[in-house]
Amino acid sequence: MAQWKGWRKALTVLAFIGPTLIGVLIFNIYPILFNTYISFTNRNRYHPNPDCSITLTSILEPTCWKVFEENRPTGLAEPFRIQEPLFANYSDLLGEFFSAPMLLNFLKIIVCFVPLIIAGQVNKSFGKRIERPLPTWVVTLGGILLALGLGYLLRFDLAVNQIAGSGDFFIVTFRSLLYVALCIPLFFIVGLALALLLNIPDLPGRTFFRVILIVPWAASTVAVMIALVWKFFFQEVGTINQLLAIIGITGKAWLQEPALAFGVCVFVNVWMSYPFFMVTILGALQSIPSELYEAAEVDGASWWQRLFGITLPLLRPAVIPVIVLSSITTFQMFGTVWALTGGGPSRGAGAPGATELVMVFAYKQVFQTSAYGRMGAFAVIMFIFLFGLTLYSLRLSRITKGAYE
């Protein structure tokens, strides 16, 4: 559609995208700007109200606008002001991050992951050769062992603990990253296993299983309700413990013990998210030409060899974007965890609970402590992080290209 130009084209385009643009501008961009502004102020429960004589406040705070004057909150509390120094909220959150020992700790953690990266690269370069000097699993195992060894030598746990001890921000961020690191491989493994199962042509009742196994996906659209059902299961007098009692095992207080509660959150999330992986992988599996498998079989390749040599590499392009997407949503997981544990079990007054992921932490800080200014800074830091991740993931997909490209 290139032949029409000038103002007519501009008007048509605007008519098509205008309403969406306005909606996004008001309800997506405005909150970001507002949050960024608030992150530089001391807005909290003691300073909740706007001071409309400050220029920026009077622009960004809707109740300062003439039209909405009658809805302006009135109270005796002092209005919030811009922080001095400007980055007070940020330094409050990040704490001693930029001090030498903390940076050293970070360096240690990064070094521990280097063998894994090297192993991946080595495997990649071996893959290009005709004869593999070493099988893939040897290299991978070597990488893992080396990483563990380094972690032991450099006191990985100590470094993590020290960083986590330097502020709530790092505790919740680490925990969320751990949550992602536990969830995503499980999504993939469960999804892959079930997709491979459903891809067997002579599996009896294949259509039935195909439909029934995506039930959790449907259920996850009402995630909070389902999470409450799971909460009932894992209660101390819940179904799981009743089941265990029947076979003679005394159940545990699943949601009261930190590690177990965390495990339950992972488990429930796996239940909700594997169907998405399963459907994607199944779609990709069906697009792999069967000649490849036939040729492999003629060459006498075993089932595992076919899996690692053909299936997994060819699944890559379809699965990587899904993994990135899921990582972002899992990192920001809120409703499910909130309904399951509410961020608890508590680990002492003031400290974040054992399942307090980033969004749960933010929600609690905003709605229970009213720390708007601090959480504004938190939002900005998270946004920069996630923004970068999203831009990276865009490189992997074609979504921003037009149909004619």
Partner: protein
């Protein structure tokens, strides 16, 4: 690949499939069972009672419908989610079409921006949105919630539909344009009918988003009881000091089962219609 599977492997496959099925549907099955028991009986179950409807009573449903205003809550949710879906599709389809078909300045970085904006933590934009709605008088009103949901779903809707429009061959529209068809006509008469599966799936997700959403609804309509959406109301029920699990289960069935039916009904469209921000690559 075509040779017969060994009987042992076959049995194993079926066992795994059945176990996976139990894993997948047990919570749903359990909540249906639970809705048919009086509350205190839930905590003393025998093995059969956990899997089979050994007893059944309509008490919980009667309580939820006649004593608690479950139907009003459901009506609220239905209205909010329904209007959100309609508004969303109405606004976003044209934008998706423009992003897929038209060349204009800022198209590409506009899309990148859209996607990147979405990564802003939703929980933290609650306060500005609630404030904005308070200012315009939409706080604790259904239209305020509809407004917030619609604009919140816009980006996903636009992206998903755009992804699908991309897969429709442009040749049809080019042929139509040679015959003198304008952009509006080619959108309404050619692209829209072809995009039906994607529109169905997008509508499904927009609707589900509104139907099952909890956080925004609990912030924007925290009270009064009769205006709440069903998930917020049931959440409150499940967090009372002595939780009436039977009542909660009855409510849960009324919320979850319709969703499941619609979802399974539309599931054959899922693979084709859901492009999920370019997942199709």
């Amino acid at each position: 690949m075509n040779r017969k599977t060994k009987p042992l492997a076959k049995t194993l496959q079926i066992i795994v499939a059945i176990l996976a099925t139990i894993f997948a549907i047990y919570p749903i099955w359990f909540i249906i069972l639970a809705s048919g028991r009086s509350g205190d009986r839930l905590l003393t179950l025998n093995l059969a009672g956990m899997f089979l409807p050994t007893e059944w009573t309509w008490e919980n449903y009667q309580y939820m419908i006649f004593t608690d205003p479950l139907l009003t809550w459901m009506k609220n949710s239905l209205m909010v989610a329904g209007l959100t879906t309609i508004a969303c599709l109405f606004i976003a389809t044209s934008a998706a079409f423009a992003f897929s078909r038209m060349r204009f300045y800022g198209r590409e970085w506009g899309l990148v921006l859209f996607l990147a904006i979405q990564s802003f933590p939703g929980v933290l934009s609650l306060i500005p949105i609630a404030q904005l709605l308070t200012a315009v008088g939409g706080y604790a009103k259904h239209w305020g919630l509809i407004l917030a949901y619609t604009t919140g779903t816009l980006i996903f809707t636009t992206m998903n539909l755009k992804g699908y429009f991309d897969t429709i061959p442009i040749d049809l529209e080019e042929a139509a344009m040679i015959d003198g068809c304008g952009p509006v006509q080619s959108f309404l008469l050619i692209a829209l009918p072809l995009a039906r599966p994607a529109i169905a799936v997008t509508a499904l997700f927009a609707f589900m988003g509104g139907w099952g959403e909890y956080v925004l609804a609990s912030v924007i309509i925290p009270a009064p009881e009769l205006k709440k959406t069903v998930v917020v109301a049931l959440y409150r029920l499940a967090n009372e000091i002595s939780v009436p699990w039977g009542h909660f289960a009855a409510g849960g069935v009324m919320v979850i089962v319709p969703v499941l039916i619609v979802f399974l009904f539309l599931q054959r469209y899922l693979e084709g219609g859901l492009t999920l921000g370019g997942v199709k690559g």
